[in-house]
């Protein structure tokens, strides 16, 4: 069949082929872009992501914060401490619910298949300094009070209880700052970033407040 074509026809057919190829490439590229642009922007964090680990572990952390605040609110009559406790309990209770809701929206369970704090493990443990040694998998989260400390807080009353509460809560807040910093280092999720920024801002100023309150109560 090709042998029957005249030279001029062959040149014309070559042009058509080139045009068709160029058109196909352009169509493909435009269609691909259109498809991508119409897709949802942020994929949902998965179960082993830093976002999910933060949402799980920060809940455990915050829920203990609520518990400590409720214990001291019952354990003292000092108005300043009781007001601070009310503030901490309602804020951290609300934030814990927010974290719970994220996991639900992301289609994830409240419990992960990995031990707590796995998301905070350095990706290259050998290259990190000793600061991260405390974040061994499954270890207590930074700033968490032990069950013995919680029992002691419940047993104390008055200014002794206030002192213990303030020092435990300062450490607790410092642990939260560490976790918020860690998620900011590992995530670009805008909602998570806003949340972590709020924790950094509010808890840092509460640490200042509690440090002053503790100084007023030196023995």
């Amino acid at each position: 069949m090709a042998q029957a074509e005249s030279p001029s026809n062959e040149a014309g057919r070559g042009g058509i082929v080139v045009t068709a190829l160029v058109t196909a490439i352009v169509v493909g590229a435009v269609a691909y872009s259109l498809g991508r642009m119409s897709a949802p922007g942020n994929p949902l964090p998965d179960s082993t992501s830093a976002e999910a680990g933060f949402a799980r572990d920060m809940q455990v952390h915050h829920i203990q914060g609520v518990e400590m605040a409720m214990v001291i609110r019952d354990g003292t009559e000092d108005e300043g401490v009781r007001l601070l406790a009310y503030d901490i309990a309602t804020t951290q209770g609300h934030q814990a619910g927010q974290l719970y809701g994220w996991l639900t929206e992301w289609g994830l369970r409240q419990a992960g298949s990995q031990p707590p704090m796995t998301w905070m493990m350095p990706s290259d443990p050998a290259g990190e300094d000793g600061d991260h040694a405390a974040h061994a998998m499954g270890a207590l989260m930074p700033g968490m009070a032990t069950s013995a400390q919680m029992a002691e807080l419940s047993a104390e009353s008055g200014v002794e209880a206030e002192r213990l509460f303030l020092s435990l809560m300062i450490a607790h807040h410092q642990g939260a700052l560490e976790m918020a910093d860690a998620v900011l280092d590992r995530s670009t999720h805008p909602g998570v970033g806003t949340f972590a920024d709020a924790v950094l801002l509010s808890q840092a100023s509460e640490i200042d407040l509690m440090t002053r309150m503790l100084a007023e109560r030196v023995e």
Partner: protein, 184 residues
């Protein structure tokens, strides 16, 4: 001839554009919120009430997996003695997993069981007359296992611990009442 080819080419290009744009669009993320429970073999599910009562309650399941309970909830923790059902059920309502074991369970098995437990929202207690050596219970769901090495134990925790399907998700598992023999 050339004009006709151009028309056909343009039509093919147009159709291809639409088809390809559709094909190249990634799927929207699809998910179903947690705690469906279908995939863990042996999990039983129930329907129980939630009312607050004082006094004792006769429960439909052993150990109870829900139902009427005391207004005070049991504080989550590790108990070396049996805890009262009316308080334990209230802890389930707040999202706790209640791990019960036959008092005859060996110390080695008990230690292996404790390794599975999260730091909060869990009650561990001995329970006389259990239908299996170890029974895991969350609100309206239950799993019987023979050994602490059963691979369904971590699966049960992943699926049901602090589930949003409890009547009061997010309510605390502290600030209630301690049972006797609380170890931690």
């Amino acid at each position: 001839m050339k004009r006709r080819l151009t028309k056909v080419g343009a039509a093919v290009a147009g159709v291809s554009l639409v088809v390809a744009a559709y094909v190249f669009t990634p799927d929207f993320a699809s998910y179903s919120p947690g705690s469906t429970g279908a995939e863990i073999e042996g999990v039983e599910t129930f329907t129980n009430g939630t009312g607050h009562v004082t006094g004792t309650v006769t429960y439909a399941q052993t150990p109870p997996a829900g139902g009427e309970h005391n207004p005070i909830w049991l504080n989550c923790g590790i108990y070396s003695e049996p805890v009262a059902n009316v308080y334990g059920v209230h802890a389930l309502e707040h999202g706790a997993v209640w791990v019960t074991y036959d008092p005859a369970l060996s110390p080695t098995e008990l230690e292996a069981l404790r390794v599975h437990l999260p730091s909060s929202y869990v009650v561990l207690s001995p329970f006389s007359g259990l239908p299996a050596p170890i029974v895991l219970t969350a609100w309206n769901v239950q799993l019987r296992v023979d050994s602490a090495a059963d691979e369904r134990i971590p699966m049960f925790f992943e699926e049901y611990w602090r589930s949003q399907n409890v009547p009061e998700p997010g309510a605390l598992c502290s600030g209630g009442i301690d049972g006797p023999g609380r170890v931690s």
